[in-house]
Each structure stands twice: as structure tokens, then as C-alpha cells.
Symmetry: C2
Subunit: 330 residues, 2 copies
């Protein structure tokens, strides 16, 4: 396990190989992705259908929500009241059958804050028909943002989420989550040398030049250093191998690319609009990703260790998506 992976505490943990971390600690980590389910289609071998929770400062974003996600959220002690955004990539059941249960539970817990759901256009009617049948009026508002074209779907002071089309049997979307560009760093030696008043520092951090009272101007670049480049997480959901996706994913910090099959089944992968280990790794390599997570393993595989070795042969900085593990975005 690399230092960028943290094992969440779990009452059902079978292994003590991983460091067990209480969820509250994760809030400090600021940007990480916790895997709640890593399997495709049929839940098998104790693996759950697709879901991840992204921790970004004090925000939690849920990415897909297969059946049983609320149980996984509970198992890994995720503070579900902090989830204000849910992204549903497409309407195959292994990516969203757990959503109606989670929305109902939010209601039972008397949630009040608005929830934004980014989803395919058919989802709102699917949710509403079930709420109507149960005669439920949720205790909180839902704002749906339906995806019909690639582009920005959420923008806050802290992050931006874009969606992009991928190629699957039905309409399917990936997402790109990027933290907002961080402030420039004060160059301490220079601000002291120029005797800049400290009250001016916040403006400098935001990129302003300095104008002194006697009309003198000092360029921002002389007084500050570049801030940390913004980190990004991309999830390309279920997709056929799309070499052109690498352009869209250029420079991503952490990429989750599906790898439903091992490299010996490219034809089956193509036929079912999925990808193999080496295809996922090739995308990560061409995109210049810092790290790759592969998951969405086919139910035909009980042992998934070959996925890691195959992908690493192309892109060494690869991890398997393991349930309960948090991968840091660095």
C-alpha cells in the first residue's frame, strides 16, 4: 500500500495490514477519494457495485450510488449529512440503484439542506415515481442538473465539477473535479525588502500588483511565488477504450478509469463497451496522470490481483480500487 492510501475503519475489516483511520480524520486530508464499491453489474465475492465518496475540504461528493451504498457509507462511518452533491454517471443499475434508498434515508433523518444531483435526464422521473408511490414529501429540496452536453455542472468557491461524455451502451458521463486555483505564496524576503505593509498581503496572494502611496508599482511576480497547482480527480465511469479521452484528461492528478476485464479480453470489452487493464493504463499514461485507480471489476474474476500487475506494466503508478480505502489526490 502506498502512502497515498488510507484504509477506512470498518467493523467488517478482515485485514489488519492497512492503517485504520477514523473518518473524522479524513476531513483534515482535504482531497481524497474513498471507494465504497468496486464491482461491475453483479455484486460478487463481497464486492459492491460502483460508488465513491470524494472528500474535498469539508464537502463530500458522492460519485455513483450502486445498491447498498448507504450500507457502505454507514460501514465506513461517512458523515452522510455532509454530502451535498451526488453525481450519477449513467442509468445502469450498478451505478444508481442505491440512490432512492439514500434519498429516502436523508428524509427519514430529517435532512434540511439542499442536495444537488448531477445526472442523466431520465433520473428525476425515476426518483419521483417512487416517492409518489410511497406518498413521501422529502424534508429537503433536490436540485437536479441533468447532463446533455459536456461542460461545467457545478462551481463553488472551492471546486469545479465538469462532466464529459464517454462511450457506453447507453448515454454515460465522466466527471472531472478540480479544486479552485490556490492563492499565490508571499515571497517573504521580497515583501520585507520592499517594506510592503502586511495588510496588503491578501491582495498580493490574489495576484494584484503593489502600488505605493508615491505612485510606485511593483509587479506581483516580484513579491509572490506560484501557489500549489490545483489538484484534480477524474472518474471516467463505464467506457469503451477511447484513446481521445487522454486529451480530455490531460494532467489529471488522480484518474479512476474502469477496467472491467484483464488484457486478454479486448474483444469482450469492446463488445460490452468496457475497457481492459492495459487500455485503462494507456489512457493514464497518455494523459500524464499522476496516479491511476482501476476498478469496476467483472464478476467473472474472484482474484483481482492480476489487474494490478497488468496495469502497472504500462503505468506503474496504479492502484486497485479497494473498498474502504481512501486514495489521496496529490
Amino acid at each position: 500500500m502506498s502512502h497515498s492510501q488510507l484504509k477506512m475503519s470498518s467493523s467488517c475489516s478482515k485485514s489488519s495490514l492497512h492503517l485504520s483511520i477514523p473518518y473524522n480524520y479524513l476531513i483534515q486530508i482535504m482531497f481524497g477519494v474513498t471507494i465504497l464499491g468496486n464491482n461491475s453489474a453483479l455484486p460478487t465475492y463481497g464486492r459492491h457495485p460502483t460508488a465513491q465518496v470524494v472528500t474535498l475540504k469539508d464537502q463530500l461528493l458522492l460519485i455513483d450510488c450502486g445498491e447498498g451504498t448507504q450500507l457502505q457509507l454507514s460501514r465506513y462511518k461517512v458523515r452522510i449529512g455532509k454530502i451535498n452533491y451526488i453525481f450519477i454517471s449513467h442509468l445502469h443499475g450498478d451505478h444508481y440503484f442505491g440512490l432512492i434508498g439514500l434519498l429516502s434515508s436523508f428524509g427519514l433523518l430529517n435532512r434540511k439542506s439542499e442536495l444537488t444531483i448531477i445526472c442523466p435526464p431520465e433520473l428525476p422521473a425515476i426518483i419521483q415515481i417512487q416517492l409518489d408511490a410511497a406518498r413521501i414529501n422529502l424534508s429537503y429540496p433536490i436540485q437536479y442538473k441533468v447532463m446533455t452536453e459536456s461542460g461545467t455542472v457545478v462551481e463553488t468557491n472551492h471546486f469545479r465539477m465538469d462532466c464529459f461524455a464517454v462511450s457506453h451502451r447507453i448515454s454515460c458521463w465522466g466527471c472531472w473535479i478540480e479544486e479552485k486555483k490556490l492563492l499565490r505564496k508571499i515571497n517573504k524576503e521580497q515583501v520585507l525588502a520592499y517594506r510592503i505593509p502586511s495588510s496588503y498581503y491578501p491582495k498580493l496572494q490574489m495576484g494584484a500588483d503593489y502600488h505605493s502611496s508615491d505612485g510606485k508599482k511593483i509587479k506581483n511576480e516580484e513579491l509572490t511565488l506560484p501557489g500549489t497547482p490545483p489538484r484534480s480527480y477524474a472518474f471516467s465511469s463505464d467506457t469503451l477504450y477511447m484513446p481521445e479521452l487522454a486529451t480530455r484528461l490531460k494532467g489529471v492528478s488522480l484518474l479512476y478509469h474502469e477496467s472491467t476485464y484483464l488484457q486478454d479480453l479486448p474483444d469482450r470489452a469492446k463488445e460490452r463497451y468496457h475497457s481492459t487493464t492495459v487500455q485503462a493504463a494507456s489512457i493514464a499514461s497518455a494523459a500524464g496522470a499522476k496516479h491511476l485507480i482501476i476498478g469496476h471489476f467483472s464478476s467473472k474474476y474472484e482474484d483481482i490481483s492480476a489487474f494490478e500487475s497488468e496495469a502497472k506494466s504500462i503505468f506503474p503508478s496504479t492502484s486497485l480500487a479497494l473498498e474502504g480505502v481512501t486514495y489521496l489526490v496529490k
Copy 2:
């Protein structure tokens, strides 16, 4: 644990107090009810929402299907291909949100045999809108039997299922499953004394009188003994305390009556159209049930042991609905 309870084998079993039985053995048991989920509304404390599987000879009937039921079926090694009937009592999520996932999985497993779903009228549209969104044509036919009035909903050579209305916040139905009347037993002494040819025994078992070749008639009652009376299982789903329900449940072998609350919360139970321990036990007592299972425990209770003691004070032959445990219908 009484002798009528068998603990199913489970990879997650924490206790070795119960006898662990492979599922295949249960096929021999002929009539039993295995609890897959025993909680109400919110899944908590490792308890799952409502679902039971009834084993009746070589048939499996699924009664309700809360979220995660397919995972529970897998955990307890239930042969899901044998499930040909699914009863959905009402459209609160804790009783059916797992259905669409199970139906999809049947399709992925290439099921061919017809599935009968007994359900409220709104369910077929809820299933269809989700299949349409995923562009899925299931590999097997579904026959829906929607419930609009009490009466027989399924009848086969081996059993009959009736539904009956209960009183809940939305339209809600209980079910009564009864095996077909068994054959009369051959009275060995008498058939030997009368020298009845053994080829005639099957007719005698079915109640026919004997007619000898010389025109002599011997009444069936002289040659046979009564067969075992038919056994029955009733599940009254989510319901307000309805004393009149005891009449409908008269003589049931095994009754599953919800007990969402302990006896100190009758007002809350009434307000939410649920029942308490003593109310459930009173129904079992008035109905003359042989045994009572109580379940659908509120998420407010972590420790459910008081449920058993309270119910037993009214109706001693009571068990808690424990997940993974099979209760025999005797």
C-alpha cells in the same frame, strides 16, 4: 434457540452458538422461513430492511425485498434461480428497493423461467421505467399479479397464497401461504386385514372408497387415517394494531407480525401505523398461532432483546426475527 430454528451458514457469521446448515439441506425441510432482513426504514446496527425467503418443498418464495436483499441471498447461499414468486407487501422503500437490482441480476444470469410478482398496482410502472432507462430487455418473462382486493393470488399443486389488506399509511397487504392438503395415511393393519391390493393405495390416499370386484364397498375412513393438517405461514407486513386481524389469521402455524416498537410506545406506533410487542403477541394469541416471529424493529433500538421478553409475556412461543435464521413451519 428452539429446535425449530436453524442458523444459515454465512461467511459473516459472528456466533457459533447456532447450528450452521448448508442451504441445500433446507430443501429437505420442505416448509421454512429464512429471515434476510429484520429492520424498519433505516438500515442500522448491521440489520437489513425487510425480506424473507420461504422454502416450500422445492419452491422458493421471496417475501418483500428491501435494499441489499440480493446481497443477503448471496450471503446465505440461497439458490436464487429457484425463486419463482416474489410478494411485495407495499411500496415503502424498506420493503422493495432491492427488487429492481434482483430482477436485473436475474437477467444478467440469463434466467429463462417466468417470474410471478404479486404487488401493489403501481409497481410494474416503477420497474419498467428503470428497465427502459437502462435499455434492458430481461431474458425472462415477468407476470405481475396486482393486488386490489383480498383473496387468492397464487394457486399451484403444492400451495396457495392469499393476500389480505392490513392498515398502514399507504395501501399494504399481508400474505398467507398454505401448503395443499396432504394425502391421507394408509392404515396398514386395515388394508392387510381387508387384503386391499397395494395398487389401490394411491386412490385410498386421495380419499376414494374401495370397491372390490365382487361389488363390495369399504369406506375410505376404515382404510386410512387423517393426513397431517396443512401448515401455513402468514406475514402481516407493516400494520397498525388490528384486533380483527386475528380472525383472518385463525389457526396459522407460523405468524410473522411486525413489532416496530416496544410496549411503552403505543402512541408512536399508532401514529406511524405500526405495532408494539404486546400488540403483535396479542394478535398471535387471539389467532391461536402455533408460533410467532416478531421483526421490523425500529432503527431507534440497538439492543432488541427486550422485544422478545415483552412479547413472550403475552405469547410464550415467540421468536425474534434474526437474520440468517430459518424458522420451520410446523
